[in-house]
């Protein structure tokens, strides 16, 4: 017995302390490099491809339950939906008539002003939420489609309420989006009422969007609707972002802060739409995948 124990002891090889120091150093390097650069993305992507089948298998019961629920409540849901759609159709008919008139008027005005026609529509991908990552300080969603479906970092995510967030990380089969309320996300917005251009930031503490750094005499008041302004190119103009709830004016600093409630519902549904905005490729800070196009663009500019 004791001989076998000794043999086992010798077979272990590397002492625990060496292993500890080695693994701790590797972990620390990973943490710091990952926090400050994107060099770890290939590793992350590789591991996520390994992980993807496991994630799908684990989520199977949930998907099954959701399917059964959908199926069992299909009749009631259909009735509800059809009523809602009826109402919407009537409402939309008015809007469409109005929009048609506006669009012809707009085209005419653009011609008058000599403004170049922009491309208002983008190809889209419908995605489903795979899971919500459990990190305490970020608001993220992971979707079930990735680079293989043409999704790239920087693309906006929308639902029927408006802007939900932005794709920040893509693996071959999944994509991760930062929600509007994520602190890292900044969206160029515009007050619909008067066209005032602002920047909206996430404030994860209360699920709201904050508009900061504008002068305290700016014309913005509770009830104002914020839409994306299209400045910067990552988000197409005119997507609904939020409704202003309160404005805090600080006369001593000369700056004001407005808090808005997002109009989208990232927590309610499972399906979202990703807009394949071409410009987002340029915006995304992922040097190794689009270095060629980036260089080409820079070349054109320079």
């Amino acid at each position: 017995m004791s001989a076998s124990v000794n043999l086992e002891l010798f077979r272990r090889g590397v002492p625990a302390e060496v292993k500890l120091v080695l693994l701790v150093v590797v972990s620390l390097v990973l943490m710091f490099v990952d926090a400050h650069s994107r060099y770890m993305e290939p590793l992350r992507q590789g591991l996520s491809v390994v992980l993807y089948p496991l994630q799908r298998v684990v989520m199977l019961p949930r998907d099954g339950i959701a399917m059964i629920q959908d199926y069992s409540s299909a009749a009631a849901l259909l009735k509800q939906e059809s009523e809602a759609l009826q109402r919407q159709r009537i409402e939309l008919a008015q809007v469409v008539a109005n929009a048609a008139q506006l669009s012809t008027e707009n085209a005419q005005l653009r011609r008058l002003l000599g403004v170049v026609e922009g491309n208002p529509t983008h190809p889209t991908v419908v995605v489903q939420v795979l899971y919500e990552p459990s990190t305490p300080y970020v608001r993220r969603l992971v979707f079930n489609k990735g680079a293989s479906d043409g999704i790239a970092p920087g693309m906006p995510v929308i639902d029927e309420g408006g802007l939900v967030g932005q794709v920040i990380r893509v693996t071959p089969f999944t994509s991760e989006a930062a929600l509007l309320t994520d602190e890292k996300l900044a969206v160029p917005v515009q007050v619909l009422r008067n066209g005032l251009r602002l920047i909206a930031f996430g404030s994860p503490s209360n699920g709201r969007v904050e508009v900061r750094y504008f002068s305290s005499d700016a014309d913005i008041k509770p009830g104002d609707v914020l839409v994306t302004s299209g400045v910067g190119g990552a988000f197409p103009a005119g997507i609904s972002v939020g409704t202003v709830e309160s404005v805090e004016r600080d006369s001593s600093s000369g700056f004001a802060k407005a808090v808005a409630r997002p109009t989208s519902y990232p927590e309610r549904y499972r399906h979202f739409l990703i807009l394949k905005v071409e410009d987002s490729l340029q915006m995304a800070a992922q040097p190794h995948t689009e270095s060629v196009s980036g260089r080409a663009r820079r070349g054109e500019q320079g």
């Binding site: 990973l30 591991l47 970020v138 991760e176």
Partner: protein
């Protein structure tokens, strides 16, 4: 509190025979398939959204630490590191955060395992509470420094719950071994 046994002849003989709770793992190894099966099962469970809760205990950490104590030569820091890295990728958080926690926990378990195997599960849980707490504190502080956001104190409650769970989870994980021991004693 901790229930201190007087070493009666019966318990002494039990300890020598390595029967009962906290038997020495050297002479009666648990089936390797059971060890890894339980770890993989808990890893898969960890991919589910229940960890979103503020005070969710880290069950993977618990099971890894348990096997690092009871099956010291099979489960260790490298296994912890790899599983932690996979969990980090799943969470989309700072890469290496869970890996570091699990490496530290497995190291603590490795250091303490000879001592811990002499105790019952409750005393083991008290020892491991300290190991869990230190390991989590280190990584929480580090990731708070790296990301610039303090995640609150929910993790400490999670560590407490994980330590409390050491007793029932440990009992469950040692069930097959007890059964083997029983068969052994019946035969002998």
């Amino acid at each position: 509190m901790i229930h201190q046994h007087q070493p009666t002849p019966r318990t002494t003989s039990r300890m020598l025979n390595s029967r009962g709770v906290g038997g020495d793992s050297l002479d009666m190894p648990v089936d390797i398939r059971f060890v890894w099966g339980s770890i993989i099962l808990v890893f898969l469970l960890s991919l589910l959204p229940w960890r979103l809760m503020d005070m969710a205990p880290d069950l993977l950490m618990l099971v890894l630490a348990f096997w690092a104590v009871h099956e010291n030569r099979r489960v260790g820091m490298v296994s912890g590191f790899i599983l932690g890295l996979l969990l980090d990728v799943h969470d989309g958080g700072p890469l290496g955060q869970h890996a570091l926690t699990y490496v530290l926990v497995c190291y603590g378990a490795d250091m303490l395992h000879r001592r811990l195997l002499r105790f019952d599960l409750l005393s083991q849980a008290l020892h491991m509470l300290v190991v869990f707490m230190v390991a989590r504190l280190v990584t929480v502080l580090l990731s708070a420094w790296v990301t610039g956001v303090w995640p609150g104190w929910g993790w400490a409650a999670g560590v407490l719950i994980a330590s409390v769970l050491w007793v029932p989870v440990g009992w469950l994980l040692l069930l097959p071994k007890h059964r083997l021991d029983d068969v052994d004693s019946e035969v002998g």
